[in-house]
């Protein structure tokens, strides 16, 4: 039975959501189940990660049908790492949401849908079939629609409409791209496509398919001209939901971009140049957008966009070092962005507002908590030796090596912008003299919660901060891991052979 370890993180999330649906009305039971279940899921993901690290790429043919025909699940080091990170973020957010989300929202099956979302994410990371990837994307967006509208406030619905429209558009473009690809190659298995696509003579159509994939995944990962849905919607749902969205949803798009453009469409110079231009513009526009925002969660939303640029830049330069930098950044970013949105949630529960103009004096009132919050802030900016610093070295070095001085400038400029934004945030929210906010009635204030609830909100932040610190101080092992992933991505032969062993 350990042969099938690959599917256990996936099946466990499905089991969790079914079990949680049986306990529909009992939210206290659901809270316990979700936290314990996420912890068990983390154990499964850890086991899978360890197995992949020691024994190399794992594959499973679901249903027992052979590779190009059946649906393949592949866990190479990249997938296993991302599954592990998803489970880490999932555990943190599960605990955080059980305290910070009001019971009225939990009663509408919040946890069941939350685990469906995790199921979709893990499935997207593990699948080795491009149509199956589309299906997992659908599961992700359907569950995220429910999570984003749960509660039905006016602002939420408005944000959800924008989110819905652009994401459906992205799905349609993605599906069209799959159709074009299937028409060209007659296969949907990614490893099979990697073999078939270079042999196709109609290069023009291959390029069209590649651009369609770029647009589809570009909308999902919120890159330069297509990011408008993200800041319009991420500040509307509860912070716990925004945390899992901000940490993981755009990263699935980035993962898909990395997977498709290192495995299927390789060695297209035009495409790499497009990716670099997109990355530079994303870095600029996200950073500048973050400067002018007043709502804390909108600031973080723009920073998500800004930092997607780092990963796209790494992919665009397409050297082993650059991709290692992009992967390292991806690892760091998932942890830190989830943490940031949870921090904004805790500040919201303390003060009752997320507007940085009306916040203030947090350092005076909660000095220890504020110091805890500085760690993710500093990692985000990339102050050495914290986690955001190391991937930028790889990116800067490889932009020197490939003589992409535009990328070099953009990376430094975007880091600088992040520093300004965070400094502004710090002085407004933490240092400024407290502003008298009107007390809100029927509002769940942080200091009125029970100790258990407070711990449920604080421990995930401590946990993720610890992970961030490990990524920063254990940078060597993470760097080795990302170099190994980059090596695997650059040499797709081992992926192909793992899926379709030569008989």
């Amino acid at each position: 039975m350990m042969q099938q370890l690959l599917l256990y993180p996936l099946l466990w999330q499905l089991f969790m959501s079914i079990a949680l649906m049986f306990a529909w009305q009992h939210i206290n039971i659901q809270r316990v189940m979700s936290i314990v279940g996420s912890a068990v899921g983390l154990v499964f993901s850890g086991m899978l990660f360890y197995k992949v690290l020691v024994y190399g790429t794992q594959t499973i043919q679901a249903g027992g049908w052979e590779a190009p025909f059946g649906i393949t699940f592949v866990a190479d080091t990249l997938s296993a790492t991302l599954v592990l990170l998803t489970s880490i973020a999932g555990l943190a957010v599960s605990s955080f949401s059980s305290a910070s989300i009001i019971p009225a929202r939990l009663r509408f099956g919040y946890f069941a849908i939350f685990h469906f979302l995790l199921l979709g994410l893990i499935g997207a990371f593990l699948t080795g079939d491009i149509f199956n990837l589309y299906v997992w994307f659908e599961i992700i967006i359907i569950s995220s629609f429910v999570l984003i509208t749960l509660g039905g406030e006016k602002a939420q619905i408005e944000g959800a409409v924008k989110y819905f429209t652009l994401n459906i558009l992205a799905s349609i473009i993605f599906l069209t791209a799959i159709a074009v690809l299937y028409g060209l190659a007659g296969s949907l298995n990614m490893a099979d496509l990697a073999v078939l696509i270079p042999k196709i003579e109609n290069r023009g159509l291959v390029k069209v398919a590649a651009i369609l994939f770029l647009i589809g995944f570009g909308i999902k990962s919120a890159v330069f001209p297509l990011y408008f849905w993200l800041p319009a919607s991420y500040h509307t749902p509860p912070s716990a939901v925004a945390a899992i969205f901000g940490g993981l949803l755009t990263k699935v798009g980035v993962y898909a971009l990395i997977r498709v453009f290192t495995l299927i469409f390789v060695g297209d110079v035009l495409l790499d140049e497009i990716l670099i231009v997109i990355a530079v513009l994303t870095l600029f526009s996200g950073g500048i957008g973050a400067l002018v925002q007043k709502n804390m969660r909108k600031v973080f939303s723009y920073l998500i966009i800004c930092h997607i640029g780092f990963m796209i830049a790494g992919l665009g330069m397409f050297t082993e070092l650059a991709i290692a930098g992009a992967i390292f950044y991806l690892i760091h970013d998932i942890v830190v962005k989830t943490n940031l949105f949870m921090i904004s949630g805790i500040i919201y529960r303390i003060k009752g507002s997320n507007n940085i103009k009306s916040l203030g004096g947090l350092y005076k009132e909660y000095p220890k908590l504020s110091l805890l919050m500085t760690i993710p802030f500093f990692s985000l900016i990339g102050i050495p030796p914290l986690s955001g610093f190391w991937p930028k070295i790889s990116l800067i070095v490889s932009s020197f090596n490939t003589q992409n001085y535009l990328v070099l400038g953009a990376v430094i400029f975007a880091s600088f912008l992040t520093l300004i934004v965070m400094a502004k945030l710090w002085s407004e929210v933490f240092w400024k003299n407290p502003v008298d906010l009107p007390k809100r009635e029927h509002f769940l204030y942080f200091n009125k919660m029970t100790t258990t609830r407070k711990l449920q909100m604080l421990l995930p932040i401590v946990f993720l901060t610890g992970v961030s610190l490990y990524i920063g101080f254990g940078a060597e092992s993470i760097q080795q891991l990302s170099t190994r992933i980059a090596g695997e991505l650059m040499n797709s032969q081992q992926y192909i052979e793992a899926v379709m062993p030569k008989s």
Binding site: M1, Q4, L7, L11, I18, W24, G63
Partner: protein, 137 residues
């Protein structure tokens, strides 16, 4: 819509439609049909009953909230996929079949239970949606 013709007809149509939905479910493995269509037809039977006799009567007939069918069906489908993993050390969702076909029903395998799971989920979802809409209308 409480006309006597519809009400009388719906009393006869309910069992016939339910039987027909099961027929569609069973023939679905090789021929057009299957759990999804079967589930839709079965829910149509209840919707028609609700049209003719009112929502209250249909709810009384069902005895439990249709939303409960969703996790039940999902669990059945999930277990049918899991059975080869647990019992036979095969890949997830591998089809296991009994050797001898049973009269009327035909061969029984895990795929059939998966389809029954889908059949139940579809009924649960459709009836929940329609009941909620007609309650608020």
């Amino acid at each position: 819509m409480k006309t006597i013709i519809l009400r009388t007809a719906s009393n006869y149509l309910l069992p016939i439609l339910l039987l027909f939905s099961i027929f569609i479910l069973l023939r679905g493995h090789y021929l057009p049909g299957g759990g999804f269509v079967g589930g839709l037809i079965a829910s149509i039977a209840f919707v028609l009953h609700a049209f003719a006799n009112g929502l209250k009567d249909t709810k009384k007939l069902l005895k439990f909230h249709p939303g409960f069918l969703m996790p039940v069906g999902l669990a059945l489908a999930f277990l049918s996929g899991l059975l080869p993993v647990i019992g036979f050390d095969e890949a997830f969702m591998t089809g296991l079949w009994m050797h001898d076909p049973i009269p009327v029903i035909g061969s029984i395998g895990t795929a059939l239970f998966f389809d029954i799971g889908v059949y139940i989920v579809v009924q649960g979802v459709t009836l929940t949606i329609i009941f909620t809409i007609s309650e608020s209308a």
